[in-house]
């Protein structure tokens, strides 16, 4: 069996046979850590390159095309530049917090990788409170942002951090309520159960109206939560130079940069898992033949395909919508998205009770 799950299982077996169970767990931790970090690095390279190419495509440009084949090595070069750059720490800054902030943000992102099912039966930790875990951990990253803004001892950083904090805290509500919609439909908060419930159809199709509303809200909310345009007020160059990471440079800046892209990946992965069936292939009713063909495509490809589709969607937004003002941003959340989400939650509860979904 040459599947990702198979490889993972055989490694687990080998470790448990060779070492005592405690040490085996510890070694697995280390292994998973290394894997996640390298996956991060890879993701950073890919997503930054993708962003450049997508924006170039949107603006009818070519984009990076000199370094490597069709510019593929461009981000690698950028990374090397960032790594060798001098990491400045401002004079009045609180050194400990200043240096710790980017790591906190990154650690939060790493922790979020745990429950995501990358392929069939392949999950770092199939935790039984999956969705709740995601909500809980994602709230940590806002602290990193606030920490960065405060410790820089710079008023633009502080303002950026406050805006960012307010924005993330606000939009977390809508995102959480959108997630709750699917939880109600699936009847479980364990991610593997949610995926399993989509075996005969993805929730965005099965849950029709409320699921679609929830999906749209979720995409808007996570775009805001990841500080992406058009909600990138925290780092609005024209107003606040660069927001909370104004004072950061070199590797520490790169970590913020990286965690931003990783966060985009994670929220899109979660969106794909909840609404688009995770690694589940596209099945249509009783079209046995069609379903069979779809099953031949590896589950990891399904998952990555859906995730990157959502990432593309979010990148698309950036070049489509103009940036909002801070009051418009908060109005949008508190006066429109939140009431709609609450109403939608009520609607989905009703629909679930009446069994009006497929």
């Amino acid at each position: 069996m040459l599947s990702i799950a198979g490889i993972a299982n055989s490694i687990h077996q080998w470790l448990n046979e060779t070492f005592s169970s405690g040490w085996a767990t510890l070694l697995e931790f280390v292994l998973v850590g290394i894997l996640v970090i390298s996956f991060f690095a890879f993701l950073g390279l890919v997503l930054v390159f993708m962003e450049r190419k997508v924006s170039a495509y949107m603006q009818l440009r070519v984009g990076p095309n000199r370094v490597g084949y069709k510019g593929l090595a461009q981000t690698l070069a950028d990374t090397i530049k960032l790594v060798v750059k001098e990491g400045l720490t401002p004079d009045g800054a609180d050194k400990f917090l200043f240096n710790f902030a980017p790591f906190l943000v990154l650690i939060a992102s790493m922790l979020l990788m745990a429950p995501i099912a990358f392929a069939k039966d392949f999950q770092i930790w199939d935790i039984n409170i999956g969705v709740l875990y995601i909500t809980a951990i994602s709230s940590i990253s806002v602290i990193g942002v606030l920490m960065a803004g405060w410790s820089s001892n710079n008023k633009y950083s502080l303002l950026g951090a406050m805006r960012s904090g307010a924005q993330i805290v606000s939009y977390e509500l809508s995102a959480g309520l959108a997630i709750m919609t699917i939880v109600i439909l699936a009847g479980s908060i364990r991610l593997s159960d949610i995926i399993a419930s989509q075996e005969n159809g993805w929730w965005i199709f099965k849950g029709h109206i409320p699921a679609i509303i929830a999906f749209v809200i979720y995409i808007i909310a996570v775009t805001a939560e990841t500080n992406r345009a058009p909600f990138d007020l925290a780092e609005a160059e024209s107003e606040l130079t660069a927001g909370f990471h104004t004072e950061y440079s070199g590797m520490k800046f790169a970590l913020f940069f990286l965690s931003e892209y990783v966060n985009i990946f994670i929220v899109c992965a979660i969106g794909a898992t909840l609404f688009l069936g995770g690694w589940m292939p596209l099945h249509i009713g009783h079209w046995e033949g069609f379903n069979h063909i779809m099953d031949f495509i590896p589950s990891s490809l399904w998952f990555m395909g859906k995730t990157f589709f959502l990432i593309f969607l979010i990148m698309w937004f950036r070049w489509t919508f103009p940036r909002l003002r801070i009051d418009q941003l908060l109005n949008l959340e508190w006066k429109y998205l939140l009431p709609i989400s609450l109403f939608n939650l009520l609607l989905v509860t009703f629909i679930a009770l009446m069994g009006w979904y497929f």
Binding site: G92, L97, I143, G165
Partner: protein, 172 residues
């Protein structure tokens, strides 16, 4: 000592050390961050005890809510880079003495008391069981406190808005 137990002691140490740092640090933001560490470590202890739900709630409410609130209030009331005034010597000594005395007293009582540890059944504490327990109306149901807490939260929310509202400039 097994690795599992070592986790517990490591987490406990993290809880206590960050708590001590939190109450002694002269930099208020660091105080808040150490509080955060302490709270996250407590959440870790819950995780370690397989109380995942409580751990998640602890993280969501404390980390996502209360610490963020505290940090915001720090932002609004404090200057970055300015450390807090030193606590008063006399009271500091008194507080330390009282805390240590209380700690010793309680620990002495704790160790003297024979707790009857029950190793029998472990109830399943899945999210569904918790939900049913919370909304149960029977003998062991918690629906009334649940409703009460809901009303309390609503009242607190309204109260906060009223208290923190900027006084109307024409009337103030």
């Amino acid at each position: 000592m097994s690795i599992s137990a070592m986790f517990f002691y490591a987490l406990s140490a993290a809880v206590l050390v960050s708590a001590v740092l939190s109450v002694t640090s002269r930099n208020i933001f660091r105080s808040a961050i150490f509080l955060l560490f302490s709270l996250i470590s407590i959440a870790g202890i819950y995780f370690w005890m397989n109380y995942e739900f409580i751990a998640a709630v602890q993280t969501i409410v404390y980390v996502g809510g209360i610490v963020v609130l505290i940090i915001f209030s720090i932002f609004l009331t404090q200057q970055a880079g300015v450390s807090l005034p030193a606590p008063m010597k006399g009271r500091m000594i008194y507080a330390a003495l009282a805390s240590i005395a209380g700690f010793v007293l309680v620990v002495m009582q704790l160790l003297a008391h024979p707790f009857k540890v029950d190793n029998s059944v472990v109830a399943s504490r899945g999210i569904k069981d918790i939900g049913h327990g919370l909304l149960e109306t029977g003998a062991n149901g918690y629906v009334l406190p649940f409703e009460l807490v809901s009303i309390l939260l609503l009242a607190a929310m309204i109260g906060c808005i009223v208290i923190a509202l900027k006084p109307n400039s024409t009337t103030a």
